[in-house]
Subunit: 222 residues, 2 copies
């Protein structure tokens, strides 16, 4: 999983990062609210952990801003305050859960699992800029009208959007989109990318799918 931790207390941040990384996750640490917003806007995360008290922008304000942008990424707030009113406020602003310091790593982990599962099984719409994927109906809409994608193109676009902002290797793409544990000797990915590019290029003919020579693809995160 891709995890973003926004926490100004370096000791806590590092300890969490170490624990999560050991479990096989990728962790990024933002040291204030501003950075958290910046990261969350450009990179895909499975879950975002926000400290309530942070320099520049508070966790709850970060939460509000993330939701304002239309993102439904799971958010868990961490805080020393245990007053119930805060909890209500947090949940009203779109946080998915709330953990009171001090907490055990296991407790936090359990809550992350619960929140991520709830999220993953509960979203029909995947929105990227002006492109909207209707995941169940498998339709793709833009302000210019519906785009008709084949099954593979749709799966690939979904994968790209979910992982926007980070480089996706051919190995990963093969595994997640084609269900293959190896990279075929043919150029099947490139061929599908070609067709997808043609269909989703914008008015200016600019494309969102960037090739990173020797590494894979990068879906531009606005």
């Amino acid at each position: 999983m891709e995890i973003l931790i926004a926490e100004d207390d370096e000791q806590i941040a590092n300890s969490l990062k170490k624990n999560f990384t050991e479990e096989g996750n990728h962790v990024m640490v933002a040291k204030d609210g501003e950075e958290a917003i910046h990261f969350s806007n450009s990179i895909f995360f499975d879950v975002i952990l926000l400290d309530w008290r942070m320099p520049k922008v508070s966790g709850i304000e970060v939460c509000r801003r993330i939701r304002e942008n239309g993102s439904k990424v799971p958010i868990i707030l961490l805080t020393a305050l245990s007053h119930v009113k805060n909890k209500v406020e947090a949940l009203n602003l779109g946080a998915d859960d709330y953990v009171t310091k001090p907490f055990s790593f296991d407790e936090l982990n359990a809550r992350i699992t619960a929140v991520v599962r709830r999220y993953q099984s509960n979203t029909n719409e995947l929105i990227f800029n002006d492109i909207t994927l209707e995941l169940i109906g498998r339709k793709v809409n833009t302000p210019r009208g519906e785009i008709y994608l084949t099954a593979k193109e749709f799966d690939l676009l979904r994968y790209f959007i979910l992982h926007k902002g980070s480089i996706m290797s051919k190995e990963e793409i093969c595994k997640d989109v084609w269900g293959l544990d190896f990279v075929p000797s043919t150029n099947i990915i490139e061929a599908t990318v070609k067709n997808l590019r043609r269909k989703i290029e914008d008015n200016n003919g600019k494309n969102l799918i960037k090739s990173i020579y020797g590494e894979g693809y990068l879906f531009i995160a606005e």
Copy 2:
């Protein structure tokens, strides 16, 4: 939309039924909680309206029992009581919204729209008995293992399950599954039903898809 109204006050029930029917919906009225549970277990509804005070089984108890069965159908409670505590109780027991009498038809309608939209965009799993459809991943699982359906077969099964218990005409099926506004002169539906039947028949070779001569198909509820 398919709407179930559980309301013992005949005057209110009829007035609501008239209004909803005029807007092109199909309405069923249950005159007590027992009937409401019975209907909701055997027929698909897009939304269920429950009066709080009803003979035999109260609305809130009906709500609890429906949720107990695993159904996530949108439920709106109607009540004369306006005390906040009841609202909390209702929402805790799994109701999606709560409307206080007297209410205007427009208000109720707006809440239905909101609740149905929220529901439709938020379910990945569609469960029918021991068949589970993973709507986004498009996989079908049973205790006997995964069933591999083609795209059309999957869409048709989804439609059948969503409308279990009521007869579906070929016109409706054509429109919703094939996106056609007319029924083709060929037997395309029958052919697809045949293949679907073969794949989802149970251990005894019994099938869930029943033909209603001259009317359409019926997906056996329960």
